[in-house]
């Protein structure tokens, strides 16, 4: 193992000699990279490597291998060995950026957190952002460029793109040049593309992302003649209607939206008000699970229901005493006059419409990306009719380059490729060979292009199909910029010198313009030198780097100019007949996004918020539909859709719409370097068609038969196999009215229990946590945060099947009520740090015991693995290292480990420690200053977008923690056991519309 360690070291030593590194030394920031030579880093590594041996007993006894200490040659001023530093940068996904703070241990980024100053984050970080650190260290990232079959240097491939070489192939005007990028709001890319267009006026530049915001852009083009982007302010919305929109999770701005939404849901006292959320959707999304009322309908019906709501709203606005119809012209209103909701939904629609109009001006209607332009138009109209514009939402110009333009369609490019018009194609980032609609047959079209160059992190499906490949840089290695959903620009600065070399997107475009050695850093500075306000550029630049946002770049509000005729004609076009056939719904995956994170083990093993599935996708359908189709969870079914068939295991999801099957994208990755991702789950893109509709009717489902004719079954690795609470007082819930009528409804579940033992002494810091179930959406950001902070290993699909997942913090998901239309309850479950901990007294070697500040400590190096503690833990939050899970961790991946936390070896128990390393760090710092312990924030608390987790000391009277623990809806899970947990919950409170029956089928 130490052997590995040394090898790992040699690699990095070599790395110190790479040109990138010397260059890096010169650069402004990555001086940190020099610290790779520092002994403490080395020590941290040896610590990581050694720990597992030590825990495996070898080092545990006596012998300690002699270690080398390699100090600096000359100490860089900004760093103190052993003290972690945070740097601001930002990550782009789906074209928009989220501001981040990245923790760096002497030049080695180890943990990603949100940037409180960034509007899209406000300090929170989602699963994608946090897991992206693992992508940086992914051993399967491409390390070298490639020409044909042979390895090549980056410059060789860059030379291929030089005007001299390329011009010959594609003509002076670039008529034969094709450029395929991902949608982006980066000013730098936009600028580079502008220059490319200057150089090659006839070049075909296209943007493609299967999850892009194209529909909404086209809608706003129709409605306003401009690609306007609605900016919702959920803090001022009393009633929210989501039309198949999962705005609370996975979207470019959902961290912010979730925060704002939660601020109106977090009620300190029964008297407080609360917002109300209606959701119309086919599957069960995170947003849907949070809803007060969910209407489960097939995706194809959403459109007609939306217009029905609009019609009803207009009708009711006409009634006297109602606010005016907010100037929707009769031309449009008349179109909707006749529209009636389907009888079985009439009651629901009318109630919602009444609720919306009653709160006109304080409501929001959101349309989902997946829904067609018409639904987005309807949402715009609803917001207009309710007078929300200017109050709860404002419009801005979409920051996306060429938003809504035809360049965002893939079809034309593929046509040109197939027709031979494209002589050279450069693909940047996107992975069309995998994500392109199946009927486009991108692969075939690609073969018709003489020169194809792929630029990306991995040699993936597309890269394999291209002649030349040039590795791109991970954003933690790059200089770049980007814009957030609200237009705020921020810089991307590297945290570490490139591990394997490569070029950023801007640098590659630079090469296309003839500057083969273009440096993104210079390009970026040149661009912003002109744009940054203030005379002192250097100062502004440094501030932008430090704060992580460029001041005053948020997009200004624009007043939309309504194109009533266009709208009228769109609406009057009769909606497609909502046939009653079985429908297929494709959706973004909460773990692997569009498949780009499929090689990320953290995300593969992250349980889906609703199904709790890991390592793969499944055809989700409602119990009723499953019964009709005679399939059970685990049966492999063949989905026949528009001439293509896909085999995928079925999964029964309570609350799913009937006659609808939803399937997550991003799995079933093809042959490429990403061997982890390969063949995990089924490739839903094979059912995606070029009209880019993410859903449609006419799906046929039949049980898939094996060669022997027997029905096939597949084992789905779900981390939670039982869904019902069995009436146990674990996750409590009440409606707002019930809460107001009986504020003490959780009283039986709190307070002291009769006990022979003394109450624990309460001096000094006394750490405790409060988790608010009313605002927990189940998004799972906390789970990844915990995994990253605490070096939690992954166990693989078989491990999950065996019930051995290692997550210290899990989110239990319960369904209440009928299996058809249940209420969803999310409960983060972690070590409850019981004051009377059952695990402690049964350990024969005192490997787990109580600290004076109220922590239930787990001492890995003392544990001998009797597992008695786990047996006696009523919350089953303890995890056991059944094997040496860190043995297979790649050398590069070890760099992602947190040096402040022991890496556990085989045969020891582990569990949530309340991030004790952070607590002790704070206490030591305080001790050095001779002050009281400052604020300590756990990783999960930090990541949570809705601030559902509060942590602090019970003896700190003016802390949030103490305040929230005083709330009447506080309770302890399994209180009657007398474990007196330090983690306490605030019961979930929902705010259903009294006019409507409870969504969860009563009780």
């Amino acid at each position: 193992m130490t052997g590995d360690g040394r090898r790992c070291w040699r690699d990095l030593d070599e790395l110190l000699d790479t040109p990138d590194f010397r260059e890096a030394l010169g650069r402004e920031f990555p001086a940190g990279a020099a610290e790779l030579a520092d002994g403490m880093t080395r020590r941290s590594f040896v610590r990581l490597l050694g720990a597992s041996i030590a825990l495996a007993g070898v080092g545990g006894c006596f012998e300690r291998p002699r270690e080398r200490i390699l100090p600096y040659v000359s100490e860089p001023p900004e760093s103190t060995p052993g003290v972690a530093r945070h740097y601001a940068t930002s990550m782009s996904l789906g074209g928009f950026t989220t501001g981040l703070l990245v923790e760096s241990h002497v030049g080695r980024p180890t943990k990603i957190e949100g940037n409180p100053d960034h509007p899209a984050s406000l300090g929170a970080a989602g699963v994608y952002e946090q897991a992206s650190i693992l992508q940086l260290y992914d051993p399967e990232r491409a390390r070298t460029a490639r020409l044909g079959r042979a390895k090549a240097s980056g410059s060789e491939v860059a030379a291929l793109l030089s005007p001299a070489r390329l011009g010959a192939a594609v003509g002076a005007s670039g008529a034969g040049l094709g450029l395929l990028l991902e949608p982006s709001a980066s000013p730098l890319s936009a600028e580079m593309l502008r220059r490319v267009r200057e150089r090659y006026p006839a070049a075909r530049v296209h943007f493609y992302s299967p999850l892009g915001s194209h529909a909404s852009d086209r809608a706003s083009l129709t409605a306003f003649g401009r690609p306007l982007l609605p900016q919702y302010d959920f803090r001022s919305a009393d009633v929210v209607l989501a039309l198949d929109a999962d705005f609370l999770a996975g979207g470019p701005f959902s961290l912010r939206y979730a925060r704002d939404f939660a601020d109106r849901r977090r009620i300190a006292a029964p008297t407080d008000g609360m917002n109300r959320l209606y959701v119309i959707e086919p599957g069960v999304s995170v947003t849907g699970g949070t809803a007060d009322h969910r209407l489960r309908v097939r995706a194809v019906e959403v459109e007609s229901l939306a217009s029905a709501v609009l019609a009803a709203v207009i009708r009711q606005s006409n009634r006297p005493g109602m606010p005016g119809r907010q100037g929707i012209p009769d031309s449009v209103a008349s179109v909707l006059r006749g529209v009636e909701p389907p009888p079985r939904h009439r009651e629901w629609i009318d109630a919602v419409a009444r609720d919306l109009t009653a709160h006109a001006g304080r409501t929001i209607v959101v349309a989902g990306e997946r829904q067609p332009a018409r639904v987005h138009v309807l949402a715009h109209l609803l917001n207009a009719a309710l007078g929300n514009a200017g109050r709860t939402l404002r419009y801005i110009e979409s920051p996306i380059t060429e938003a809504g333009a035809s360049s965002h369609e893939l079809g034309p490019l593929v046509e040109a490729m197939r027709g031979g018009a494209v002589r050279a194609l450069v693909v940047l980032g996107a992975n069309p060979a995998y994500t392109a609609p199946a009927d486009l047959d991108f692969g075939a079209a690609l073969r018709r292009v003489p020169t194809t160059v792929y630029h990306g992190l991995y040699q993936n499906e597309t890269a394999r199909a291209c002649h030349a490949f040039l590795p791109s840089l991970h954003y933690l290695e790059s200089w770049a910029d980007g814009r957030a959903w609200d237009g705020t620009a921020s810089l991307v600065q590297p945290l570490i010198a490139p591990l394997y070399g490569g070029k950023t997107e801007a640098e590659l475009l630079g090469a296309l313009l003839g500057d083969a050695e273009a440096s993104a850093h210079e390009l970026l500075q040149d661009l912003w030198r002109g744009r940054m306000t203030g005379t002192d550029f250097a100062g502004a630049w440094d501030e932008a780097l430090q704060r992580g946002v460029i001041a005053g770049t948020a997009a200004p509000e624009t007043t939309p100019t309504w194109q009533w005729d266009a709208i009228g004609s769109v609406l009057s076009r009769s909606p497609p007949p909502a046939d009653s056939s079985l429908e297929l719904v494709l959706e973004q995956d909460p773990s692997v996004y569009d498949g780009r994170f499929a090689n990320n083990v953290w995300l593969q093993e992250l349980p889906d918020p609703l199904t709790k599935l890991t390592w793969g996708n499944a055809a989700l359908l409602s119990p009723a539909t499953a019964a009709r189709l005679r399939v059970a969870t685990g049966d492999v079914v063949a989905l026949a859709y528009r001439g293509r068939t896909l085999r995928v295991p079925a999964f029964l999801l309570p609350g799913h719409a009937d006659e609808s099957v939803s399937l997550r994208l991003g799995y079933g990755r093809g042959a490429g370097d990403e061997t982890l991702a390969e063949g995990v789950g089924a490739n839903a893109y094979r059912l995606l068609t070029s009209d880019m509709r993410m859903f449609g009717g006419g799906l046929a489902v039949s049980p898939a038969l094996g060669d022997d004719g027997a029905p096939l079954r597949d084992r789905l690795a779900s981390t939670q196999t039982h869904w019902r609470l069995e009436g146990r007082p674990v996750a409590l819930r009440a409606t707002l009215d019930e809460y107001r009528r009986d504020p003490a409804f959780t009283a039986p579940q709190r307070g002291r229990v009769l006990s022979l033992y003394e109450p624990s002494p309460g001096g000094g810091d006394q750490w405790a946590m409060v988790v608010d179930l009313a605002t927990c959406t189940g998004c799972s950001a906390c789970v990844v945060a915990c995994q990253a902070e605490n070096n939690i290993p992954v166990v693989g699909k078989q491990g999950v099947l065996d019930g051995r997942e290692m997550h210290w913090l899990r989110i239990d998901r319960y369904f209440e009520g009928s299996a058809e239309d249940p209420a969803v309850l999310m409960q983060p479950m972690l070590c409850q740090h019981c004051e009377k901990a059952p695990c402690e007294y049964v350990c024969p070697v005192s490997a787990t015991l109580h600290s004076p500040d109220g922590l239930n400590e787990m001492v890995y190096n003392r544990c001998i693995g009797t597992r008695f503690c786990s047996n006696n833990c009523p919350y089953k939050v303890r995890r056991f290292n059944w094997f040496d899970y860190n043995a297979e961790v790649a050398e590069t991946e070890r760099m992602a480990k947190n040096p402040d936390v022991t890496v556990r070896g085989r045969g020891v128990m582990e569990k949530c420690t309340f991030c004790v390393q952070r607590i002790r760090e704070a206490q030591i710092a305080a001790g050095i200053e001779g002050a009281a312990t400052g604020e300590v924030r756990t990783a999960c608390q930090q990541a949570c977008p809705t601030r559902a987790i509060t942590f602090g000391s019970l003896n700190d009277p003016d802390s949030d923690l103490v305040r929230r623990r005083a709330e009447p809806r506080r309770y302890a899970a399994l209180h009657e056991l007398g474990t007196e947990p330090r983690v306490q919950y605030l019961a979930a409170i929902t705010n259903p519309n009294p006019e409507l029956p409870r969504g969860d089928g009563g009780e």
């Binding site: 065996d802 051995r804 319960y814 049964v842 070697v845 009797t866 303890r878 995890r879 020891v908 399994l974």
Partner: protein, 448 residues
């Protein structure tokens, strides 16, 4: 009459020692089979220690399974020997003499097996010695609040005492073997172990005292060991474990399975070595009666356990006892267990069945299986559905679990066959003494 007395003992001794001198072909076959099985055990254990106990089926929540089941099962079996030797001796149950040697040997071998599992089931077995209270370099001690250090101590003590007890009982017979063994080497070997026994009156006197003292020491251990083992479960708050009836419940179950194992071994021996006159129907009858008695104590425990669960009104207790066990995923094992442990022994109400070797043999086999599954029910069905429904998980053993279980059985029989081969399997001296007393009593009557 006198001749009979003088010739009888010698013949008896020779008869009982004969198998030791000349192993039959059957012996070699059985030896080979059990030896092979033992190799399987060794392989599985090596594999486990090298790879990690992840090769077993255990998971969270079912963190304990086969290893602990086997441990409790073997310990239980290990109770009969000492019970027969110590208790029956103290209660002057003379009939014990013909079976106590086998029973004691069985106890030892069961304990050897049992001892294997607590070590093996550790995540880091190489640190097992941290369970022992000694001044460590770390300046820390085991935690005595936990039942496990006590458990280790109890089992170790019990093994030591059982070993001494068994060996002490052997000494006179080893001497007999020494005097009769063909060939000088064997005589020397037996001689060393006979520790220079001459059978002088003084030696006999001290021998009896020592034997009685050891019996006195061993008797309480029979109760204590399994009581402490039961605490491994009872001190937890897990429904299905958290019960005050566990200590007596476990002890009864232990002796129950112990007797079953004794019968399982005696019946074939009796047949193979034509010992019908030594291990008489009376022995079978008594053993069967004991089984029946134990069965009813066990039934009482079952009833009380379940009643208490219901009476407590505790939702978790009720779920475990009234839903999970009788109707849960492992219900078929539960009902099978009840059949074996409750229904089968009821046969012994009939004397005819009590003395029928085949019936007894089959019954003991079933009861042993039943007692193993009882431990499975206690451990697995309590763990797999605990307090939080979210953490419920099924348990499935792996091939390693099975090989270790069957391997340990094979290992047990390997040791036992070696015992048959090299050690007098019946307490010859005690028998002779009894017969002598019996005959002298008879002659006294005749004389009058």
């Amino acid at each position: 009459m006198a001749t009979a007395v003088s010739s009888g003992p010698a013949q008896l001794t020779d008869r009982l020692l004969a198998p030791a001198w000349t192993p039959s072909r059957v012996w070699w076959v059985l030896f080979g089979i059990s030896g092979a099985g033992t190799l399987v055990l060794a392989g599985a254990v090596a594999y486990t220690v090298a790879t990690g106990i992840g090769v077993w089926g255990n998971n969270i929540p079912v963190a304990w399974a086969y290893a602990i089941i086997n441990f409790v099962w073997w310990i239980g079996i290990g109770h009969a020997g000492t019970f027969i030797s110590a208790f029956l001796l103290l209660f002057h149950q003379r009939w014990r003499s013909s079976i106590n040697r086998v029973a004691e040997a069985m106890t030892l071998f069961a304990l050897v097996n049992a001892g294997l599992f607590p070590l093996l089931h550790l995540g880091r077995p190489w640190f097992f010695y941290w369970l022992i209270p000694y001044p460590t370099r770390m300046g820390v001690w085991p935690q005595f609040k936990s039942a496990l250090p006590w458990d280790a101590a109890a089992v170790a003590t019990y093994f030591t005492v059982s070993l001494l007890f068994w060996y002490l009982g052997l000494v006179p017979d080893l001497a007999a073997a020494r005097d009769r063994a063909p060939g000088r080497t064997r005589r020397r070997v037996y001689g060393v172990f006979a520790l220079g026994w001459r059978g002088s009156g003084r030696q006999w006197h001290q021998y009896r005292v020592a034997y009685l003292i050891l019996a006195g020491l061993a008797a309480p251990l029979v109760i204590s060991v399994h009581s402490i083992v039961s605490l491994d479960f009872a001190i937890s708050q897990l429904p299905g474990w958290h019960s005050t009836i566990f200590p007596p419940y476990f002890v009864v179950g232990a002796i129950y399975s112990g007797f079953a194992m004794v019968l399982l071994l005696l019946i074939p021996i009796r047949r193979a070595f034509q010992l019908e006159d030594i291990i008489t129907e009376r022995h079978l009858d008594n053993m069967a009666k004991l089984l029946l008695a134990m069965a009813w104590m066990l039934i009482y425990s079952y009833v009380v356990e379940t009643f208490m669960a219901w009476y407590s009104g505790n939702v978790y207790e009720r779920y475990t006892y009234l839903v999970e066990r009788p109707f849960g995923p492992y219900a078929w094992i539960f009902w099978g267990m009840l059949t074996a442990n409750v229904v089968v022994p009821q046969l012994f109400w009939s004397r005819r069945l009590r003395v029928s070797a085949p019936v007894l043999f089959a019954a003991s086999l079933l009861i042993l299986a039943g007692m193993w599954t009882e431990r499975f029910i206690i451990i697995v069905t309590s763990l797999n559905r605990g307090f939080l429904p979210s953490s419920w998980h099924f348990y499935v053993p792996t091939w390693v679990d099975w090989s270790i279980l069957f391997g340990s059985v094979a290992f047990f029989f390997l040791l036992f066959f070696l015992f048959l081969r090299f050690v007098p399997m019946v307490a010859i001296s005690e028998l002779k003494q009894q017969r002598h007393e019996a005959s002298t009593a008879a002659s006294a009557v005749a004389a009058r």
